[in-house]
């Protein structure tokens, strides 16, 4: 089975879990391994970022929350973004322009994560949720339909952020996942030690840079393999003409999980060949 077909299947499962409330199951004690608003009328899982803010507001030492995040992070790392997260899937489906774009902005998502926490601590409110585009899509719009929400300033703010993010994604592939997602930022901390990842056979790599061109996150797989920005979607694997890349479960630190120690740029200063 093609890797992408398999991934579309697991992404479908992610969406299914997101709307599993349609079966009548109410809220469960589980944390969603991605960004999916618990206010969604069909959600049966708790949004980790929403929970994090509430825990900060209530001053709880977050054993359950961090334990769950660590378990998810160690299992797939940011693989959840590429293989499961429904909002990641929205990003994926709208990713037409796989460009390398201001890589230096990538840590902004960590700032968003910290900012979310600081806002919850100082302002004692869930400020991220009021801006979150995933909540716009899965809470604001459905509740407008259910008659609980009205078209008011918070609703328009939600719609504004959603429109801006969708525009961003259309211009830069996985714009949200790349620069802004706090959940992605949280999972990226575990990317290096997760048990799921890409492997690179250094002796086969010609550093042609084709993999980089296929990457929706704008990463150079052969240079930055399993880096914090890699969502482990595996788009690079079939693009490699010399079959140097593979994806699957392995112990962190095994051969091939670390980036190639290149001697220098082969073509172009950033290792990406010029487009034909």
């Amino acid at each position: 089975m093609k890797l992408r077909t398999l991934r579309r299947g697991t992404q479908g499962l992610g969406i299914l879990l997101g709307v599993f409330g349609v079966t009548g199951i109410g809220m469960t004690h589980l944390l969603f391994p991605g960004l999916h608003c618990y206010a969604c009328p069909l959600a049966i899982t708790v949004c980790p970022i929403g929970l994090m803010q509430n825990l900060i507001v209530s001053g709880t030492v977050p054993f359950y929350f961090l334990g769950a995040i660590a378990a998810y992070g160690l299992f797939l790392g940011r693989g959840w973004c590429g293989w499961f997260c429904p909002f990641g899937t929205v990003n994926d489906l709208l990713s037409f322009r796989k460009v390398r774009f201001v890589r230096a902005l990538s840590p902004v998502k960590l700032l968003v994560l910290v900012g979310t926490g600081v806002a919850a601590w100082r302002l004692a409110d869930t400020w991220f949720c009021k801006l979150c585009p995933a909540a716009s899509l899965t809470a604001s719009l459905p509740y407008l339909g259910l008659g609980v929400a009205q078209v008011n300033a918070p609703f328009l703010l939600h719609m504004g952020t959603l429109a801006a993010v969708l525009l961003g994604i259309a211009l830069v592939a996985r714009f949200w996942c790349r620069y802004l997602c706090p959940m992605g930022g949280l999972l990226s901390l575990f990317n290096r030690v997760s048990f799921f990842g890409l492997r690179l056979q250094g002796d086969r790599c010609t550093e042609c840079g084709l993999c980089a061109r296929s990457c929706p996150m704008g990463v150079l797989p052969h240079r930055e393999i399993n880096s914090g920005d890699c969502v482990k979607c595996g788009e690079c694997v079939p693009s490699c003409t010399s079959s140097a890349l593979s994806i699957g479960f392995s112990l962190p630190g095994v051969r091939g999980r670390d980036p190639l120690r290149s001697t220098g740029p082969s073509s172009g200063s950033d290792g990406v060949p010029p487009r034909q």
């Binding site: 009021k130 604001s140 630190g253």
Partner: protein, 696 residues
């Protein structure tokens, strides 16, 4: 013929179904005595209670107050001019301007009195003139309001009329509210005994009996123009406590010798029935005199029955032995709930009755030389009936005892099981009397928990005190709420009252306490962080080892979190949708205000409605929704409301339809009559008004 019969049948059905109607009008002063003059103290302030236009420049002292009669609020000003003249200005037309001249007051020794007539506007009733006397003890920061707008009418039972009197006892301008009372001349002797312990005075919910029939009030018009009577199961009439009538029988066990005694066993003796307590200073002051009187006349047939309203047997025994009191003492340890005190409707102490040799009440509340004189008179009278005609009774003008301390407790107290905690109780004295020996205790926390008690001493007139009550961790399962009980007494002149008042307090129990271990559990989280940082620098097997170690740490962290109930906490957070938290609408944190138009629309609401407000502790807009509904209910007394913590009482929330797709949506307001639920806070007043409009 037929139409007449039909009309008669309809009229008969109506009369039977509705019961008797009594139309009431302002009471002439010869029908009601001083007992129909209720009074309440009112504190004055340096600033007006509402923006009022007035130039206080020419005044040496300006003190403001506000009189509320129904929905109307009248600001008034007491001013002392530079020449020493005292004036009172009332904004009687409620235009927020004190343009009229000062009212002429009547000066008495140490006091100034003004008679005013304001318009009371009870919600749902016709406005009516309300005469009030404002009494200012000169130089003080408070006034007394005297009034009650007594209403009287004629009640006909079996063809014989009886006078009916209705009094607005709490002076709020609305008849039928808590604190109001009524009196009926049940024995039809032409005198209404409406004194606080009179046998013809009744609380609003109390039935009364005329002849063989008992009635209760089924409807009271807010303006006091009409009451409707419904029939009630037969209730024994209250025994009269006026001279000329036999004293109700008392049976008790004497505290000193343990013997059973009865008042009827003392026939043939002149008996003083004396209600007293060791905490009552005027009662104690009387004791040396009683001892002397007892010594002098006991042999001649004088007996005293002391009915103690003490709560501490030890204090009482110490006092009795210190003073050498030998007469029989009844003690139940129940203070005001003492069965004899209830029978004699005692509302203040000292209270005493002097009975003749036949057990007939002859005098009450005699003290000093007067008492000695009457004892001698009754002793010297033969057993033949003495021609003592029942005459008018002199009773000091006081209202029934009412709490003078306002108990303020926090809306919710956070506690940790096993560890307990403490909370502050604020006691505000709203009266010009000192509240003495104030005791505060927490009750019914859980089974087996001793009630912690704090003595707060004396709270001076209009003073405040804060006490902290410590609550033990629950042994028999944490209770969700408790009761703060405040016990104190106060004296007005020589009359003392003991008050037992209560306030409910809600408890929010936090996480269960953790067992202390060698390494604090939060190290787990630190290790995870350290592992992630170290992983950045490692490669190969070392990285794999760190990865595996992190798996162990994350599982341990999950287990610790689960054991601490954090999974449930996550579920609780996830299963409640607070509309302002996820940005469905703005946070409303301001104090809600009703516009005059909204208020008028609410007052015009003629049906009855019950609003149930569902909230959760972390919901940002819920306090706004709760406060707004409170305002709405205040605007129209026919609207009642209830607050429900949807997080605690999920079943109730589900029944109400506040749960949608497994999520409790807060704030939500259920209109009980129509089952309509209003979510969120946007345009809430308008939506409440629209929902009330649906009730028919």
């Amino acid at each position: 013929m037929k139409p007449t019969l039909v009309i008669f049948a309809v009229w008969a059905a109506f009369a039977l179904g509705v019961g008797q109607e009594v139309r009431l009008g302002p009471a002439p002063s010869d029908v009601v005595a001083d007992w129909a003059q209720a009074f309440v103290p009112l504190r004055l302030r340096a600033t007006p209670p509402q923006p009022v236009e007035f130039d206080t420049g020419g005044l040496l002292l300006a003190q403001w107050g506000e009189i509320g009669l129904g929905t109307a609020r009248y600001a008034f000003l007491l001013g002392v001019a530079k020449n020493g003249e005292v004036g009172m200005w009332v904004d009687s037309d409620r235009d927020r301007r004190l343009m009229e001249g000062a009212l002429a007051g009547v000066r008495g020794p140490g006091k100034v009195e003004w008679r005013v007539e304001l318009l009371a506007t009870p919600a749902g009733g016709e406005p009516y003139p309300y005469p009030l006397t404002v009494l200012w003890p000169e130089g003080r920061g408070y006034v007394y309001l005297l009034g009650g707008a007594a209403r009287t009418g004629e009640l006909v039972v079996d063809g014989v009329g009886a006078t009916f009197v209705l009094v607005d006892g709490d002076l709020d301008g609305v008849f039928g509210t808590k604190g109001d009372f009524y009196a009926v001349d049940v024995d039809r002797d032409g005198v209404v005994h409406g004194d606080p312990d009179g046998h013809e005075r009744f609380a609003l919910g109390e039935p009364f009996t005329v002849g063989e029939k008992s009635f209760r009030l089924s409807q009271i018009s807010p303006s006091g123009s009409l009451v409707k009577l419904g029939s009630a199961p037969y209730a024994a009439p209250k025994p009269p406590l006026v001279p000329g009538f036999p004293a109700p029988e008392i049976r008790f066990t004497s505290l000193l010798d343990g013997r059973s005694r009865a008042l009827s066993d003392l026939r043939g003796k002149v008996v003083l029935v004396d209600f007293w307590a060791t905490w009552c200073e005027p009662c104690k002051a009387e004791v040396p005199f009683l001892l002397e009187l007892y010594k002098e006349h006991h042999a001649a047939g004088f007996e005293i029955v002391g009915l103690s309203l003490d709560t501490s047997e030890r204090d009482l025994r110490e006092f009795l032995s210190a003073k050498g009191i030998r007469w029989p003492i009844a003690f139940e340890g129940k203070s005001w709930d003492n069965s004899v005190a209830q029978l004699y409707r005692v509302y203040q102490i000292p209270t005493s009755y002097l009975l003749d040799r036949k057990g007939i009440i002859r005098y009450r509340d005699l003290h000093g030389a007067e008492l000695a004189e009457k004892v001698v008179e009754l002793l010297s009278a033969s057993l033949a009936p003495a021609p003592v005609a029942p005459g008018p009774v002199a009773i000091p003008v006081v209202s029934a005892p009412r709490p003078i301390l306002e108990i303020r407790v926090p809306a919710e107290v956070g506690l940790v099981p096993g560890e307990g905690g403490s909370f502050a109780v604020r006691l505000v004295n709203m009266s010009p009397y000192d509240a003495e020996e104030v005791k505060v205790s927490a009750l019914s926390l859980s089974v087996g928990t001793a009630s912690p008690e704090v003595e707060a001493g004396t709270i001076p007139a209009f003073g405040e005190r804060e006490v902290r009550l410590s609550v033990e961790g629950a042994a028999g399962g944490p209770s969700r709420s408790g009761v703060v009980e405040v016990l104190y007494h106060y004296c007005i002149g020589d009359s003392c009252f003991q008050i037992q008042d209560r306030a409910e307090v809600a408890f929010a129990w936090g996480e269960a306490p953790r067992a202390t271990s060698l390494i604090p559990t939060w190290w787990l989280l630190v290790f995870i962080g350290v592992g992630l940082v170290v992983a950045v620098f490692l490669r190969g097997r070392a990285l794999a080892a760190v990865g595996l170690a992190l798996v162990g740490l994350s599982v341990a962290s999950l287990v610790v979190g689960y054991l601490r109930g954090q999974a449930t906490q996550a579920w609780r957070i996830g299963s409640v949708l607070c509309t302002s938290c996820v940005g469905i609408e703005e946070v409303r944190a301001e104090v809600p205000t009703l516009s005059p138009a909204d208020r008028a629309a609410l007052v015009a609401f003629a049906g009855s409605a019950r609003l149930v407000v569902f909230s959760t502790p972390w919901c940002k807009s819920c306090p706004y929704a709760k406060a707004l509904v409170g305002e709405v209910a205040r605007a129209n007394p026919r609207i009642t409301y209830e607050l429900v913590d949807a997080d605690q009482d999920r079943t109730r929330a589900e029944e109400a339809g506040v749960v949608q797709s497994g999520r409790v949506i807060v704030p939500a307001i259920l209109i009980a009559e129509t089952k309509r639920v209003l979510f969120g806070t946007a345009d809430l007043t308008a939506r409440i008004l629209a929902a009330l409009g649906e009730i028919r």
